[in-house]
Point group: C2
Chain length 192, copies 2
DNA sequence: TATTTATACGGAGGATGCCTCCGTTTATCA
DNA sequence: TGATAAACGGAGGCATCCTCCGTATAAATA
């Protein structure tokens, strides 16, 4: 009972799970440093596993990229959950948006990466859009409920604005400008 | 007299010029089909020259990419010149903008390519921005002079809007939507 | 606990691409 | 019609990609 499949299946091997996690961590680091075309063998080396193991878990570069992306999205979503306990709701939202900037900034290749992803499965797009919308909706809703934020901005608007800020910037030294723009935007969201 | 350099220099060899052109054509096709990471050897093969010749003309992938991009920009600029003889100025502008969409659509990797370029020399950015601004200014100016287009839109605004339309679209099947948006925009430009 | 077996592991190896180097070819110039 | 500067082609060394399969090991079973 409670078994998902009809046939009883062995539970996944512990080393498999561990290696998958190691690979994701390594990939995040390697892609951040070397851009999205970085060597997959370098990823395997850093994770301390054979190249075969990498390919078994992620048959293509895109599969690995998707997994990394999902990982990051989940990370941001979890962070929103944590920040929802922050006493000041506006500050919580601001911090979350800043985390977005930092996360994208941390990986030079991410903008190109996002485009690779955009070419890929629309299921992934739907998934990430949904999770991030939910995350930002949570933080936004708290601010609205507290009467501190205007109520006519949807989470989707906010997400799109964020993306727009990322895209509109020149690639060099864009981070400070993006952070400033985010702050301006959050200020604009305040009820007066 | 009339010689650019102090020392008299041989004029460039005919085969060199021809091969350069062949390579640019081949590169345009190969990058359009296979994206910006397509094999440079494939480019040389398609141009019917040795790989060494490719590298002599374009020492790096980026150099080749820049040259292709310049080539396309020049192409669009020339097209604007041609279209300026079209009797209906609004139609001319519309056609030029559509050509932009088609050109970007024709090469799947172009959006990523533009980002590569954005990382690259700002001289190239300046050059292309100038040429395209001039081109669109020509077409726009005719419409304004004929009293058919509103006068408060600058060529820069129009270019930026065009870029915005390209970026905001999802990558799959974006072309029809982009064409529609361009038409809407051109309609909006009309004086009423 | 000992044995079985499904599952995962590592890395050798063939294919392909990158880029350099240099002997050969050829277009220009005298 | 030479002489020669300039360009050509592609072999070769190295890196990466990805597959395949013999070996190792965690979970299941007795």
């Amino acid at each position: 009972m409670g078994q998902e499949t009809v046939k009883t299946r062995r539970k996944p091997r512990a080393d498999s799970l561990r290696n998958r996690e190691l690979l994701l961590e390594a990939a995040t680091h390697v892609f951040s440093t070397g851009g999205p075309q970085a060597s997959l063998e370098a990823v395997a080396r850093r994770a301390g596993v054979g190249i075969g193991t990498l390919y078994r878990h992620f048959p293509t570069r895109e599969a690995l990229f998707e997994a990394v992306y999902r990982h990051e999205v989940d990370h941001l979503a979890d962070l929103a959950g944590l920040l929802s306990f922050e006493p000041d709701p506006v500050e919580a939202l601001r911090q979350w948006l800043h985390a977005n900037v930092r996360l994208v900034a941390a990986k030079k290749g991410m903008i190109q990466g996002l485009q690779l992803v955009a070419h890929g499965s629309s299921e992934l797009k739907a998934y990430s859009f949904e999770r991030l919308t939910e995350a930002v909706g949570l933080l936004l809703g708290r601010g609205v409920a507290a009467g501190e934020l205007r109520a006519d901005i949807t989470p989707e608007d906010l997400l799109r604005t964020l993306l727009g800020i990322f895209y509109s910037q020149g690639t060099a030294d864009w981070q400070p400008a993006a952070l400033r723009l985010v702050d301006v935007f959050v200020d604009g969201l305040r009820k007066r």
